[in-house]
Amino acid sequence: MPIGELPLDHLLRRAGFGTTAAESAAHSGLSLAAATDLLLAPERVADDTDTHIGQEGYAAVTPRGTTGLFSPNTVIDDARQRWLFRLVHGQRPLQEKMALFWHQHFATAYGKLAGAVGTIQATKMLALKAGELPGPQGQLELFRARGLGRFRDLLVAVAQDPAMLVWLDGRSNTRTRPQENFGREVMELFTLGRGNYREQDVYAAARVFTGWNLRLSAGGNNQDPDSYYEFFYNAGQHELTSKTFTFAVYADGGHTIPARSAADGYQDGLDFLAALAAHPETGRRLARRLWTFFVSEVDPAPPGFVEAALEVYLRSDTDMTAVLGWLFRSPWFLDLRVAFSRYAWPAEFVARAIREIGWTGFSLDTARSAMINMGQTLFEPPDVGGWETGPAWITSGGLLARMNFASTLAASQRAGIARMVPATAARSADAVVAAILERLSPMTLDPDPRDALVAYLSSQGPWTGSDAQLTTRVAGLVRLILASGEYQFI
């Protein structure tokens, strides 16, 4: 493999979900710089992925609702399959990658939403694609639309997002008895991080967001797919007095949001969110999260990286495309010693496996249900802090779920897997292993694990390369590679 392709593979694993066989061939003339530019400008690529759902040549979906029709705007398990479809077939990989990043950052779980507003409205709040039913786009679509824009704009949009207003109880935040859920988490988890605010800031933040409520469309009800919830500023419920923080809210150093009339009180929240977005600790926190997500989970973010990322973040007015463009071109990212130092999330593991092995006749619902035991159900993070990532994914039960998914996938793709072996290689067990490893590209195997793979091919009799062996043993071989420690890293 030419040395120049290695950074490209690294980039496509990190900024995307690996490479399909077809893409691999198409990329042969693509430079790293051109690929980086293309990833950062998803609007240059047509976004017609969803139109291929149900078509020949693509992974299948299995409707999970009672109607038998695929309903990704109103049935959450169908929404999960649509998201997996985009991870596998999407033409805008970085957009989807950042949607996953923001889903973790602003972790919002379906279960509580469904308990509050029913399954249809909860699914709409998380996954409605704009225009397919009445109402504001779902939170995932928000992440896709704004995930590469200014963080400040994203933060404001999330603070007014119906799913978030239910999830952190903003919908019922009232004047006389402000409640603190969103006010606390917006500082602890979404922006500054712990240690950069105090309890009195939580109390003040709760008051800032009084009246940031939710309303159901006129005459609507939760069971009606055409009904919807939307944000509204409930002036009568806004608490009017001034709000003082321990940190500067305004550029002139002022710590106090002034007392305002009910009609003008909406501005309190915008001022506060702008201050949080522009706070250097927010930039540093995002920088560390981006380091963990894109660069390395083996080494912590060096101060030089964090400060350089912060500089880009502030200079660009919190623009994520600017920050990511800088990151992907930075020496930290391009140092290939960081290759395979990131633990694959279950969503990344299944997407990469399907993309590398194939999807003929394979339903994404199989991946969806397998992911439950891997520890990641999309749209159902365990709490507002999101999933524990990195080594925390690696539990014995989670690994067995990955191994067993690999078995199911390999069993379903026998014919395609057998065709991965060139005729010239079929006679030699060693050559078969080499061919499959080149296609699947896990972290480099040491000699002994590699020998274990060669030995496996001959474990039920000498390897001859017969068709029967190719369709059974090579499927087993692929499964062993997907199940290996080496494959759990991207």
């Binding site: 009232t174 309890e199 520890g375 080594p391 059974t472």
Partner: protein, 424 residues
Amino acid sequence: MGRITRRRFIRDGSVAVAVAHATPRFLSDAASAQVSAQSGGGRNLVVLYLQGGNDALSTVIPYTDAAYYARRPNIAVPATQVLQVGADTAGRAVGLHPRLTGLRALFTDGRMAIIQRAGYADSSRSHFEGTDIWGSADPANSGGLGWLGRYLDALPTPIDPLAAWNTTRETPRALVARSLGVPAIPDARAYSFASPNGAADAVFERQAALRMASNRAGDRSHLAFVDGTMAGAFGTMDRVGAVADYQGTVAYPTSALAISLRTVAGAIARGVGTRIYWVSTSGFDTHAAQGNAGAGGYANLMTGLNDALVAFTTDLKNQGLLGSTLVLQFSEFSRRITENGSQGTDHGAAGVMLAFGAVRGGLYGTAPSLAQVPDNPTLENDGADVRYETDFRAVYARVLDSWLGVDSRLILGDDFRGQGPAFI
């Protein structure tokens, strides 16, 4: 950045785990069963975590305190519904939430201990820091090993890879150990190894996978960590498989908590040798819609808790195993005394710990006085929150010294003996 800290820790800890696994010390099931029999003494500890910050004042209700009703006009449970459990040593009568009928029966049987106002000084209002503090038992430095992890590290080597069993999918801080990665087994039925080519080939695949996982990836500690965890899965799979078809002597509810507890009961009943079980249930972050008149959101949580625990304790009792099982419940904090405008409560301070099974049943500690008056010693934060009376580490110390049979000072790094209630 507590989450980052946790990741960093687990990574650093993983190095030790990986090295330990990389040495050829994989135990046969028979050998490890022997080890666990030697060190286990047949006693089990089941830690039950109520995730989100349980509102202790709704679990154990100070129903004779006028301030309870004044400060919770919408969500207070009426005194007539409360399941009375008597008065504490300060003479304050308290009662259980009306949905906890089965637990009250356990209390009456002397199988339940209630430890009021458990917590620590300067209680964290953050879910994540709070959980880390309860998990590490170290408020000053909550990013390190777990208190149960340190206990596991203190067991004689070689440590049985199934010495502890986590029924959740994430490893909690409390179980972070230096010398082993605690297996995560939410469902024993899924803890198996399939093959694309059927059972005969699965044997060869498992051999190959185990050989791959046994590689010494010395210069890549993150890979060695994954390989070590994988080898641990293979090393525990057959024993866990023995639990897969366990149904129990009673019909368990279908809730996730009940399924977890049934799995634990199966492991206890089938004698797999595990000493520490971790069980968790969520939904306790009740900022809104706690409900009123003893019904609604919080009441549903109590029903789920009651029904699952009743099934579990009854199942164990039927098999003569309840006396060798200690269930210890905690939550990362309790909630604000005064309700908010959403019929909910925000993050607070000291809460309640419950213990079941092998306990000296009774009501321990004293209820707070909820009157928001100056110098009320039972409150803090200008009277907004309940102040702790029993340091939770004193409760842990009792568990370590009197149940697990290890010197708590070695595990907790300080002497908390004799400071907590003698509930064991």
